[in-house]
């Protein structure tokens, strides 16, 4: 019988996570499981609703990435109507998604992860957060907050103050950008570029001091999946799916997301409410894949904009083939912010963003539709089956955190293996911090992951080979 370390929530009810670390008879870490207790029941809850309401309902799944659900849901609706939406609507949706990338990645990097790089693993939790960062580097913290605001601003200028009421709808979007708002965005761009540059410098310095983290924080072979253009350029809302392996070779390309069930299997693990998707032709464990910034940069041949392309070239040198360390999700996130800024800038010169032709109209032309969009944390699938009246009969959603679940398990196991010495049977604070950061590399969309500025409520149990709890560490 193996031992187990359990990290469990103590204070939060929703979106909380629990981690079990299994020890073998010799006291070595044999395995780890990151259990997510979230998301259950939503798919069932949607059944019987008209599909047009989904862009209004699904952003409620997750308060952290409502835009991603909004867009995937509207796209699934497009597929049910079997329409191609007006080009202007597609551009505006993309613009909103880019805003979401900027705000979400800025939050992940500056608020949640940078305190760990800058303040170190041994800094006690109460200081190792954005407030600690403000204490140490006020300018950086402020710039990060502003960058996040910039992303949010784009979202709000398009979707209105409240993002929840569906701005994107099946067939298109409800309103264009206001010419005055274009000016606002243009004025803000230079500052945003400057902030990303600071972040790049910071991360380059971090790479010098954190080579061990690069080695240990989720560095293992796996597949990577993401959307790409027909020519292999980075995608975030359109395009088709590509899988590469850890050598960087393309193992499947231009897969139509509508047929995802043919190449993505979903294994249900009874310890977690999240389904663990895998690449079907390879089965598990070889079929394990990662999604999100790291994966998107591994599948993309170029970013499609000059500044981001230069960074991508530098990034690709960090791997032999694919870049396999999950610690480099952070780097990938920065490159995606840069790419997003460049694309936002490009759209500002496109007259279509003011267009009034924004919504295609049609009835139910297909009883089944899949909407796929890249959320900041990874590929998001909404799969709807409707009856002839447009009422939902079946809903399936595959979220980024689910797709990364297996990789997160492995990351925690790798960190634990490295830092828990044999027979130590202890869970010191720095270990807890590292495990927390290992999970944070994936920026999982658990409300707890962004809860309480940089603090994950955790309970750690070390359970012996016979299943007894040897040790427990809690924090919440």
């Amino acid at each position: 019988m193996a031992k187990r370390i359990l990290i469990d929530p103590v204070t939060r009810i929703e979106g909380h996570a629990k981690i079990s670390i299994f020890l073998d008879d010799e006291g070595h870490v044999s395995d780890a499981e990151f259990h997510v207790v979230e998301f259950r029941g939503f798919e069932k809850f949607c059944e019987g609703r008209p599909y047009n309401e989904m862009p209004g309902i699904t952003p409620r799944i997750c308060g952290i990435c409502p835009v991603s659900h909004l867009l995937a849901s509207a796209k699934a609706g497009d597929a049910i109507m079997a329409v191609s939406i007006p080009p202007a609507a597609d551009k505006l949706r993309r613009l909103m998604n880019l805003g979401q990338f900027i705000q979400s990645h800025a939050l992940s990097f500056f608020h949640l992860s940078a305190p760990d790089f800058l303040l170190g693993w041994d800094t006690p939790q109460p200081q190792r957060n954005v407030f600690g960062l403000i204490g140490q580097n006020k300018e950086l913290a402020r710039a990060g907050i502003r960058l996040r605001q910039f992303g949010q601003e784009i979202i709000e200028l398009l979707g209105g103050q409240k993002i929840h009421p569906a701005w994107a709808v099946p067939g298109g979007v409800r309103s264009p950008l206001d010419p005055e708002d274009r000016e606002r965005i243009l004025r803000w761009l230079p500052e945003a570029y400057a902030t990303v540059q600071t972040a790049f410098d910071l991360f380059q310095a971090t790479l010098q001091t954190h080579s061990r983290e690069v080695q240990v924080f989720g560095n293992f072979p796996s597949l990577f999946m993401g959307l790409v253009d027909p020519d292999g350029t980075w995608e975030h809302h359109g395009g088709k799916l590509r899988f590469v392996d850890s050598s960087g070779s393309i193992i499947a390309d231009q897969l139509d997301p509508q047929n995802y069930a043919e190449f993505i299997g979903e294994s249900v693990q009874n310890t977690s409410y999240l389904k663990s998707p895998y690449y079907l032709p390879l089965d598990l464990p070889e079929g394990m894949y990662r999604v999100g910034p790291l994966a998107r940069l591994n599948v993309a041949e170029q970013m499609g904009t000059p500044k981001a392309d230069a960074e991508l070239a530098r990034f690709k040198k960090l791997g032999r083939g694919a870049v396999t360390s999950s610690f480099l999700y952070h780097y990938a996130r920065l490159i995606e912010i840069l790419a997003a800024l460049e694309r936002v800038e490009r759209y500002m010169d496109d007259r279509d963003i003011f267009s009034e032709d924004l919504r295609a109209d049609a009835g139910i032309n297909s009883f089944h539709g899949v909407g796929v969009s890249e959320a900041p944390r990874g590929t998001l699938f909404h799969d709807y089956t409707v009856d002839r009246n447009g009422l939902l009969r079946k809903v399936n959603m595959i979220v980024a955190t689910g797709q990364n679940n297996l990789a997160m398990n492995q990351t925690v196991a790798q960190i634990a293996r490295h830092y828990i010495r044999r027979q130590q049977n202890d869970i010191p604070e720095p270990l807890l911090n590292r495990i927390e950061h290992g999970i944070r590399c994936y920026d999982p969309c658990l409300s707890c992951s962004t809860h309480a500025v940089g603090q994950m409520p955790l309970r750690v149990q070390l359970i012996g080979p016979d299943g007894t709890v040897i040790r427990e560490a809690a924090r919440g």
Binding site: P50, N52, E53, P55, I57, R60, H164, P165, N389, G390
Partner: protein, 238 residues
């Protein structure tokens, strides 16, 4: 017609004989919450939000169906009335599934704005979470019974403005629901003229234009009034 004099909230007013308290009050700029009342169709006193106190009567009376009498002393805004109105609203919310945040009528809903204006900040009753089937069979309109408060405005508009008689009430008590024709799917209801007056009259998101998403259902009730006035004043008769 003889006039009656009465007092509403301490204000002396006169009203035509046969007028309801609600009509008399509105004529003199006194407002009160209503929900099942719809200008242009007769009143049924179904929602009980317009309840008022009348001196000398222990019962609370619905202003929309109670006729004025000589010397009547009416109060429309007392602590007791406020308490009952809130309770009534809470019961309405608890009865079906009113999830404003994802509702097509969010921001344009009479039930929602009443809950705000009457200070309903929570519901003391257990929600019943019933399960109903949404009827999306009609080519233009949809009906979601989860959001229906059984005010019957749609039924009255359908029978008495349009004259089609498609909509009806079926069942009893908590099982009551709006049906189309003899409980056929709306899309198969032959009598429906697709005029949309029911949709215009619905105070909540229960009736909607198909394809609407959150907050998209804005209704134009002036069309109903326009038709009714034209008919009553015989404006269309040359």
């Amino acid at each position: 017609m003889a006039a009656k004099t009465l007092t509403i909230d301490g204000k002396e007013i006169s009203a035509e004989e046969g007028a309801t308290i609600l009509q008399a009050a509105e004529e003199h700029g006194i407002t009160m919450p209503t929900l099942c009342h719809l200008d242009g169709v007769y009143d049924v006193g179904a929602c009980r939000l317009c309840l008022v106190e009348v001196a000398g009567t222990p019962k609370l009376l619905p202003a929309c169906t109670t006729r004025v009498t000589e010397g009547m002393d009416v109060k429309t805004d007392t602590e007791r009335l406020r308490k009952y109105r809130r309770m009534t609203l809470e019961l309405l919310f608890a009865e079906r599934n009113h999830v404003c945040a994802v509702c097509v009528a969010n921001g344009h809903c009479e039930l929602q704005s009443l809950a705000y204006s009457q200070g309903m900040d929570h519901v003391r009753y257990e929600y019943r979470f019933p399960h109903w089937e949404v009827d999306n069979t009609h080519p233009l309109f949809g009906m979601d019974p989860h959001r229906c408060i059984l005010c019957t405005r749609c039924v009255r508009a359908c029978w008495h403005i349009e004259g089609a008689g498609t909509l009806n009430v079926s069942g009893r008590s908590a099982g009551s629901h709006i049906i189309t024709d003899l409980n056929q799917p709306w899309g198969l209801a032959d009598s429906c003229t697709r005029c949309g007056k029911c949709v215009m009259s619905c105070p909540t998101g229960a009736l909607y234009y198909k394809g609407s998403t959150v907050s998209e259902m804005e209704r134009d009730r002036s069309k109903l009034e326009f038709i009714v006035t034209a008919r009553e004043k015989k404006q269309w008769i040359a």
